[in-house]
Amino acid sequence: MTATNRTGAPPVRDHSAKRRWVGQSIRRVEDPKFLLGRGGYIADRVTPDTLHAAVLRSPHPHARIVRFETAAALALPGVHAVITGAEAAQLCDPMPDFGPDPARHTWRCLAAEKVRYVGEGVAVVVADSRYLAEDALELIEVEYEPLPAVTDPERALAPGSPLVHEALESNCAYERSFDFGDVERDFAEADVVIRDRLRWHRSGGQPLETVGAIAEYDPGTGSFTIDTNTLSFTSYLFMAAATLKVPVNRLDIRPVPAGGSFGSKLFANKPAVIAGMCARKTGRRVAYLEDRIDNISNCDHHGSDRVYDVELAMMRDGTMRGLSIDVIDDYGAYIQFGVGHHGNALAQVVGPYTIGSVRYRVRAALTNKNQQGAYRGFGSEVNNWMLEQMVDKAARELGLDPVAIRRMNFIRDFPYFIPTGNVYDSGDYERVLDHALDLGDYAHWRDEQRRLREQEGRYVGIGVITAQERSVFSATEFWFWFDEPGAPVTSTPESVSLKVDATGGITAVLYSCAFWGNSPETMVAQLVAEEFDCSPYDVSVVYHGSRDGLPATGPGGSRTTVMLAGAVEGAAVKIKDKARRAAAHLLEITPGDLEWADGGFRVRGDPERKKTLGEIAIMLHLFKHSFPEDVESGLDASKVFDHPYTTMPSADRKDLGVFYPFVGHACHVPVVEVDIETGAVTFLHYAAVHDCGTLVNPRSLAGHIVGGTAQGIGTALYEEFVYDEDGQLLSSSFMDYLIPTAMEVPELIIGHVETPSPYTPHGIKGGGEGGRMMAPAAINAAVNDALAPLGVRLTELPMTPERILAALRAAGHAG
């Protein structure tokens, strides 16, 4: 248990200052190289002397590995190595694992004794080209002893189920029930309890670029250098050093731009470990670049896969009292992040409503599937969907209007502490709702809905959902699940170094960050420009590798912009402090008589006496003897910015503390038509209003809202990793894993509301995940609204034509 208990919120900030750069939709500084085809992605870094690895994947969902015949593969000209899982277990330790019991649900880069899902790697070949490596894969003979497989999470939890990890003696990797607030009283006093069972099937980020790594091992220094499109470097990826059996300061992981992530590259360590292992074994530079089938079947980043049994305790007038949630989450064959996804749920479990109590029972089931990882929302989007389904069901059962029932339960006073202990820092939910209904032309579409049903027999539905988008996670959400956590970590820092060169030009160094489609360079450039009154296009932003980088956690939970803002601010304070004292010395005045303005320090009341940052910098760089003895040459500073608002959970876990304090909010209003003969769903209109505090680059955030909504459309209607009863992955390529095209995504009418956070620089909150955190809930609501006259309600995602038609048939409508 940690020694220090931080109490209280950070100071409330004054956001009244006029901003010059923050809030401008400038062109992104990153763009030119990508537009010119010089992006420098990992696959672009292959050199003629690089060897290529290919992984042999298991065709069985569950099987013992009996025997390998690798001689023919090794004999193929151009093949340099064949490493089986058994040998890999000697060369490498298990993968870094934040799960509940890594010693007993051990995860390795290649399966050693048995395979646990279709697609799990069992061997790797290294050859002169990927073509040859794949030729060699076909020459490897593997004898398997198939075992019974389990792919249904409830069956996995039932007695007698095949065990995914015998050492665990169960397929339940974690089970616990939490009570927050007075659940018993709220349910006892309720007029009615709304009940439902809901099923959310797994989808995943599936960026167009897969994960890849290029590794070199230097036997002289015993060091690995690995270029890979992972996005988290210094703070946690150092654990990959242990996997590769080298000291941490002998592993340098270097960032490259990533072609999308959506969470799936947050901690992309397995390809790096495989490439590293192969580099050390062959003594050569080795690239392991996943192909699409590797990535779909073996990526370690499938999304949430949940069965919910929920009860919502209500008063007849629509007041929400309490929530009881029983959720089973199918984690697949490993559980690298533990049940952290449920921490994301608990951060905003009551949504924007004054629900007073919550019971949360979570069971993590292991099955013969690829494991879960991170997918935009990280489990909070599922909670949003579940809660909004319950609210709409409550509205229907109580005969209340779905907009009115939400409005009457809105939280209005901030900061607001929800039953779990987390805080919502600020918000104005009414304003967002009203704006969304206006942009969504709600009244018009209600009229249209009626007219189209009566006159043309068409089924049009409108969804109105109001939900939260939390940002900036604390480390506590990964361990407050245990009374005696093994590693109760409390650091989730982000660091920035700012260097002012002798000409006054500024370079910002980022440490656990890479570019993945968000715009960290543009964010930092705008933030630095705001601090120093320069142009964002004059700021140089570089990414630093892991070995000698400052502590930094990387993107996740929409934390990056807020944390970079804090780090930039902190480094800027230090630089301005030194610059002020230097300017004071040069101007022969006391530091207190100077004020920062227009890119330099000037004497208060005598603005002609001034020194620009450039003038100060050249002196500090080159003219040491012009300053007092204690002044060091140069003008640079770093800030390690730790999470600004984390409080510890109580010992009894009835209060989890503050762990996700900067909470935004959104309202989505889609209008859909359901073709009840085919189960096809089309969009007639879609309005989305988001409030994630002050926006650094509004156009950029709007782009993330549209993109996130597009992924939400995929989750709601098209995308699913389908495993059949025998454990075969049926959607193993893009032919069957269906990503929305431009014709499936409507034009979005986007509105922004900005309720600043009182606690962050400029009042920024994170918002990159928001679109996907809302869309599945909104679209399900719209479909249900369309089919309500037929007595049909969908409670399972994705709402494929098959599921919609089956529901219609079950309700007596021929399909």
């Binding site: 990508f34 010119l36 085809g37 999308g260």
Partner: protein, 166 residues
């Protein structure tokens, strides 16, 4: 025994090339590795996502499901050939202006497809653009700002043409 190779001659971005390739070498790998043009990216290698789109004799093709030997005698255009004399093509510039890219991975293929779209129809409606770019998946943008970029690039290209030949 070294694998059998074929000789192919083709033009890429206006430059003639003669090369020896294995028949099984995919065009995308030939462009990226043999010709040092890594701007064309690989997304799926089964012809669904369109990330690898280039123009072959002016028509868009998916270079991950075309063999290099099938491009013998062809005139190929890739993203590297779009900018001329240090100036970006209007499509490239408008993609930046409208933020029609986020991670940039689908962007080269999308740009080449957009070239073909505008060559066939210099004045498309947003609906027509959206339907035409449905051939190329984007996982980041949700397609809206891409559509806006193509529309505004089209307007610029029409204006330039009118100025040149009133």
């Amino acid at each position: 025994m070294a694998p059998e190779t074929r000789t192919i001659s083709l033009t890429v971005n206006g430059q003639p090339h003669v090369a020896q390739v294995e028949p099984r070498r995919l065009l995308v790998d030939f462009l990226r590795e043999d010709l040092g043009l890594p701007g064309t990216h690989i997304g799926c290698e089964h012809g669904v996502c369109g990330t690898c789109t280039v123009l072959l004799n002016g028509a868009s093709i998916r270079s991950c499901i075309i063999l290099a030997v099938q491009a013998d005698g062809a005139d190929i255009s890739t993203v590297e050939g779009l900018a001329q004399g240090g100036e970006m093509h209007p499509l490239q510039d408008e993609f930046s202006e409208k933020q029609g890219l986020q991670c940039g991975y689908c962007t080269p293929g999308m740009l080449m497809r957009a070239c073909e779209i505008l060559a066939e129809n210099p004045d498309p409606s947003p609906g027509q653009v959206r339907e035409a770019i449905a051939s190329n998946l984007c996982r980041c943008t949700g397609y809206q700002f891409i559509t806006e970029a193509v529309i505004s690039a089209a307007a610029r290209m029409r204006a330039t043409k009118e100025e040149a030949a009133p």
